[in-house]
């Protein structure tokens, strides 16, 4: 932000930039408070918060869709939704949760914490960072506008051709879906480039790759996965777009095409995507478990390399989504074996987490509860995953509720529990207040019970033959006995309400904490990594002076040292560590300045998308907006020149943020 700020040790008031000349088409925005300071910000922390808030909003949307699905399936021949609406609902539930909740939430946390964890003052390309966020937000809104413009996409999130073609899905739902995802894809790609550059180039002195906090490591793997996976789905979506909007025949059998092309493209993206969703949460709990066990992550290099191994092998398993597609025995056998192979590095992680808490001094804060919950729930999902790798067995289970059970244990018990662990752990860092621990405990138990009630019975439903994606189930296929499939369907629906209550408790916790929460001490958890070596919330420029790193868990080793008897004893308080940084405050900190251009450029994208669906002139207008944005962006310097500040930033002891 374009403000001049002194180090926290002095109490001078920040002053605002006053651009003296117009650079590019518009004068630089200068607001440091109010909505304008958010709209035009390039600060990674503000953007991180906006990413996460957006993700949380879509989590609620996707959750409501899930509840509607469960209400429909609570009883045989459900009448809550009709077939058409149900198909839209499960398509959008999955799309929303994957692309608009877990991915942006992970991106939000990455944005906020990667620079802090590596001792940087921002990301490498702050304006691109802002652009990524706006593209994601506009993509998400665009995608959901289809609900009000003739119906949402109804082909399932996997959108298999030819069922996604114009004949079989004539509404505009799938067009909105394709273009919305393209926008989100642009956001992910730009974000990936940005974060990879940041991690590789902007680490604090002394922070070798193998001293990097594990969350940053896992996020680095995720960004590489995004970098290579997103282009694949982009191509697939373009093909589908051309098929639907411009009469192309990429998947049209009558034109000699093979619909399996789509499946290969989709899953070459889709399987790495699974690791894109889960690895950030692996990273989070690999931070949380050591902090609340008071000991380092067990086998840090194994966790790093198993994460990287997952990142590589993850590219060689896509066809396990297609064991029933008719690939022939050779492909099926090969992908079956590669899928078993990827279970090994995943298993390594579970061993490491368990060994991390083994022998520790465990404190069961809400963050810790969610982290430990993840170990068990993810293990269940992982093991049912191993049963799918046995291809012949998978031909019985695929497209049944057994699969639904599996990936909800992995993605809800895994990814979502990890994110919730992160919420409780990092909330004081971001907002300076501690979430209520008592409510957090209730939140945790309601979610554990609710999720097991909802997804646990789905193992039984699937193994006893209930297929997925059916808008109704019938008693004729439900079997006999008290515990028939009807019972478990109802049970799962009740469970979904318990689960929703758990999530509602989190939202209540957020409201209560915001209104009257306990102000967080500087180092509430006695944490281990760099992001805690600054105030809560962090200053605009993150660190007064960039720390020199000599350990993994640098912050911990600054606070604790072994005494003569080998016992770890506290030698410094967090406040003292902070004071050292302040005492050595850098004289001249140059922070990137806010800009209008990221949001302008991003705003052109949905206009183009509308144009593709409705009328080409609108698309051209959108293109003009994009060009205008790119022009303004190109000729605007990323930081305001010194003489734009009032008073001019000349004195040596001034931290120069802007």
């Amino acid at each position: 932000m374009a403000i001049i700020e002194r180090p926290a040790s002095t109490n001078e008031v920040a002053t605002v930039a006053t651009p003296s000349s117009s650079l590019g088409a518009l004068k630089r925005p200068v607001a440091t408070t109010g909505w304008k300071s958010w709209l035009f910000t390039v600060d990674h922390k503000k953007l991180g918060i906006m990413y996460s808030a957006t993700a949380l909003f879509f989590f609620i949307v996707g959750g409501l869709e899930a509840v509607l699905i469960r209400l429909q399936l609570a009883a045989p021949n459900g009448k809550v939704l009709n077939a058409d609406l149900y198909n839209q609902m499960f398509t959008m539930h999955a799309t929303t949760m994957v692309f608009l909740f877990v991915m942006p939430m992970a991106a939000g946390l990455a944005n906020y914490f990667i620079p802090l964890q590596i001792g940087a003052r921002d990301v490498a390309f702050p304006r691109i960072n802002a652009f990524s966020f706006w593209a994601l937000l506009f993509g998400g809104i665009f995608l959901n506008m289809s609900w009000f413009l003739g119906g949402a996409a109804d082909g399932g999130w996997f959108m298999y051709a030819p069922n996604s073609g114009p004949i079989f899905s004539p509404s505009h739902g799938i067009d909105f879906w394709i273009l919305g995802l393209q926008l989100a894809g642009i956001a992910s790609l730009a974000g990936a480039v940005n974060l990879i550059t940041t991690v590789l180039n902007m680490r604090a002195p002394g922070m070798k790759l193998m001293r990097m906090p594990i969350f940053t490591w896992m996020q680095l793997v995720v960004q590489f996965l995004l970098l290579f996976a997103v282009p694949v789905i982009t191509v697939a979506l373009f093909l589908l777009s051309f098929q639907r909007n411009f009469g192309a025949t990429f998947f049209d059998v009558s034109a000699g095409a093979d619909p399996l092309l789509w499946q290969h493209l989709f899953w070459i993206f889709g399987h790495p995507e699974v690791y894109i969703l889960i690895l950030p949460s692996f990273g989070i709990i690999s931070e949380v478990l050591p902090v609340f066990s008071r000991k380092p992550l067990f086998g840090y290099p194994f966790v790093v390399f198993s994460g990287a191994a997952i990142g590589f092998v993850g590219w060689g398993v896509w066809a396990h989504h297609m064991f029933a597609s008719g690939l022939g025995p050779v492909s099926v056998a090969v992908f079956s074996i590669s899928t078993m192979a990827i279970a090994v590095p995943t298993g390594v992680k579970i061993v490491n987490w368990t060994m991390t808490i083994w022998g520790g001094k465990l404190q069961f804060t809400a963050a810790m509860k969610f982290a430990v919950g993840l170990i068990v729930l993810f293990t269940i999902g992982g093991l049912s995953g191993v049963t799918h790798s046995v291809a012949p067995s998978d031909t019985q289970q695929t497209d049944t509720y057994y699969i639904v059970a599996h990936f909800h244990y992995v993605l809800f018990g895994g990814a979502v529990f990890g994110l919730f662990s992160g919420f409780y752990y990092w909330w004081p860092k971001v907002f300076g207040k501690l979430l209520n621990e008592k409510l957090g405990t209730w939140n945790f138990w309601m979610m554990v019970i609710g999720m097991n009630m909802t997804f646990g019975p789905m193992h039984i439903l699937g193994l006893q033959g209930q297929p997925r994606r059916m808008y109704q189930w019938t008693e004729a296929r439900a079997g006999e006995g008290f515990f028939n499939l009807g019972f478990w369907n109802t049970f799962a629906s009740v469970g979904s309400l318990v689960l929703s209550t758990g999530i509602l408790l989190f939202l209540i916790n957020v409201v209560i904490t915001t209104r009257s929460g306990k102000v967080a001490p500087l180092d509430p958890w006695d944490a281990r990594s760099l992001e805690w070596m600054t105030s809560n919330p962090p200053k605009e420029h993150n660190f007064d002076s960039i720390p020199t790193v000599s350990h993994l868990d640098e912050f911990f080793h600054r606070k604790y040292q072994e005494d003569a008897s080998g016992q770890m004893v506290k030698v410094k308080t967090a406040e003292q560590v902070m004071q050292e940084l302040e005492d050595n405050a850098d004289a001249h900190i140059h922070m990137p300045s806010p800009s209008y251009w990221p949001i302008v450029l991003a705003a052109g994208l949905p206009v183009i998308a509308f144009g593709v669906i409705y009328s080409i002139p609108i698309a051209i207008f959108g293109g003009v907006i994009v060009l205008f944005g790119a022009y303004g962006w190109a000729i605007e310097p990323s930081t305001a020149p010194d003489d734009d500040f009032d008073p001019p930033a000349t004195t040596k002891d001034v931290v120069h943020v802007g």
Binding site: N82, A83, N87, G155, Y160, I167, F168, P170, A257, P259, L260, K295, P296, F298, G299, P301, F302, A324, S325, G326, P329, S336, I337, A341, A343, V348, I350, V351, T354, M355, I357, W358, G359, G360, K361, L362, T379, V386, T387, S389, V390, T395, T400, I460, L463, Q464, G465, P467, R468, M470, W473, A476, R477, G479, E480, G481, F483, N484, G566, M568
Partner: protein, 396 residues
Amino acid sequence: MRRRVVGAVTGIATTMFLAGCATNAPQDTWKPKGPNAKIIDDLQKPVFAVAGIIGVIVTAAVITAVIKFRDKGQPIPHQSHGNPALEITLTIIPALILTVVGVFTFRTVFDLAKTSDTEMIINVTGQQWWWEYDYPVQNEFGITQPIISSGQLVIPAGTKVLLRETSRDVIHSYWIPALNGKRDAVPGRVHLNRIEADKPGIYAGQCTEFCGLSHANMRMEAVALSKADFAKWVANQLKPYTSPAENTLAKEGEAVFMNQCTRCHQVNGMKRADGTPVIAAPDENLVSGAAPNLSHLMSRNTFAGATFDLLNTTCRKDVWGADSESFGAKYLSGVSEDCLNQTDLRGWLRNAPAMKPMYANPALLASTGGKYRGMPNLGLTESDIEKLVAYLLTLK
């Protein structure tokens, strides 16, 4: 003590899981009724067991750690960074387990792909939202003319049947859990799928690849008959058409059928008054270009993609609940007037899209050039329906 508690919990959990299952669920994947499903089952049961044991061990370890290492004021533990020997051991053990599983998986995959031992071939074609079966001429089974049927796949028990699957529109998936895993039916491709039933009986299945609006209503059954009964079934399917006697309600029904239904539905051998054969032309009216052949509708006991029963509740129970000895005779007797599920059949004739969601609204056919997907509401009068039901009952 702790070990005993864990053991007890595991025992209770397993018992609960098994007791928690439905009995006689028609699509149970753990109740193989033929050799293909059996070798899958033999492979997966040990895998499930091993996975279960590992799950219990991990859970027990975590719970133990949670109880044992809870903060009770102990000093901060030694900051050890791991134990590579232990790590490597715990990496190799699962790798070895998976190698063993992998070897057996490999074998089973190739066993299930074998086609050299095929005894009978049936072409299976999926379309929104029903299955068509086409039996090519196979003289050794008495199939001297192709037989076209739908909904219920009739096969001889103890015979290795090879299904050649394809689709006329979107991707569907053929799945009779008791007989084999699923295999997708993809337009433009022919996929092979082995099935074989040990004993006569009826085995439920369902389309398992999402195929649009009425995916939930695309069901099927495999009906296995003894070889002798199968020969009877074939003979009946090849029986020439007999028009209903003059001056009967059924005869009037035939006229209604000829007017309203033969645009899409074929009844083999049906002739107009002038002696010309009535040939259906579904390709002019439907996206998939096919509608179920109704020549022997009442020899099956479900209709509309096996979504609805042609048998009323009592008669259905009698057939579905029959033991393998008496099943054949009961199935071959078809649907009599006393057994007919009048409600659903009449409801269907009255307004089909109201009973099963279909893209059959004439106002919404712009994207398909006026072609339907599924059966439209024909606007039949009650007297037409009365006549049609009488006529359909003659199609045995």
